[in-house]
């Protein structure tokens, strides 16, 4: 359960919406270039942090839970980044 008040939760939602809209705008302007995709992967980890800490209320939770819920998105994003580098190196 979250310990945030409605105002703090609204601010978190606003930040998340800002990150999503920025990502979509970046994609629309610059297209699916490798660097853009790398930035969007980083933003996915940022969004995950906001959801875990503020919406799920893990700021005061045991560190194992906080770290675990950071490692899951971070590990998948790293695998995706490795795939991106591999595909670029092999097929460009």
């Amino acid at each position: 359960m979250t310990d945030r008040n409605p105002r703090q939760l609204f601010n978190t939602w606003l930040r998340l919406a800002g990150v999503v809209i920025s990502g979509m705008a970046l994609m629309a302007v610059a297209g699916p270039a490798t660097l853009v995709i790398a930035v969007l992967l980083g933003l996915a980890v940022v969004k995950s942090r906001f959801v875990a800490l503020d919406f799920m209320g893990l700021r005061q939770a045991p560190s194992a839970l906080r770290v675990g819920l950071f490692i899951w998105p971070a590990a998948l994003v790293l695998v995706a980044a490795a795939k991106l580098v591999l595909s670029t190196a092999l097929f460009s």
């Binding site: 939760l9 969007l40 996915a44 998948l76 994003v77 595909s87």
Partner: protein, 185 residues
């Protein structure tokens, strides 16, 4: 012997707020989706050309809008899970979270209807099999979760609200990571 004076604690005396099984469930979901996403990425390396060609038929704009919809739903779920929320606030937020969940489903089905035409092309077979498996598995979680949110809105006991909202945020978390992996990488 009087039960109240018995020295051994009964199950009723134990802490009822323990969340061990909730986190076991959360991690089993994350493990399942993690395996599916890694599988998707590995096949994407093996069939890089076909995956890149198939990906041009996806609609990242609709998926981006769906990210906003699901995050809004997660915000409503977080409002419902506040310990100080009144019964009415809890109910309203849970219903709001469920409605945004159903909006996500509607947008995703719209997206599927546009992709169905090219999904049968043998050149894209592997991509669309995995795409429908991964995103469809997630979509089923959203449908099921939204119905459970409505049931809990009917009887919003704090324990039930904490359980379904935590799982709802996990579904949200999975989509946040799934979006760039499936649509972009």
């Amino acid at each position: 012997m009087d039960a109240r004076s018995h020295p051994i604690a009964t199950a009723a005396d134990e802490d009822t707020t323990d969340t061990l099984l909730l986190w076991v469930l959360v991690w089993s979901e994350l493990a399942a989706f993690g395996i599916l996403l890694v599988g998707f990425l590995v096949v994407g390396v093996i069939q890089a050309g076909a995956f890149a060609a198939a990906r041009t038929h996806l609609d990242p704009l609709l998926a981006g809008i769906n990210t906003l919809v699901l995050l809004t739903s997660g915000w409503q779920a977080a409002l419902a899970a506040r310990p100080r929320a009144s019964l009415m606030q809890r109910r309203r937020a849970l219903i709001g979270a469920a409605l945004f969940g159903f909006a996500f489903v509607a947008i995703k089905l719209l997206e599927y209807s546009a992709e169905a035409g090219v999904a049968g092309d043998p050149q894209f077979a592997s991509f669309f099999e995995l795409y429908f498996l991964v995103t469809g598995f997630h979509l089923l979680h959203v449908v099921f979760g939204a119905f459970v949110l409505l049931i809990v809105a009917w009887r919003p006991k704090p324990g039930n609200v904490a359980l379904i909202t935590t799982l709802w945020h996990v579904i949200d978390l999975v989509w946040i990571v799934m979006f760039p992996l499936v649509y972009l990488v």
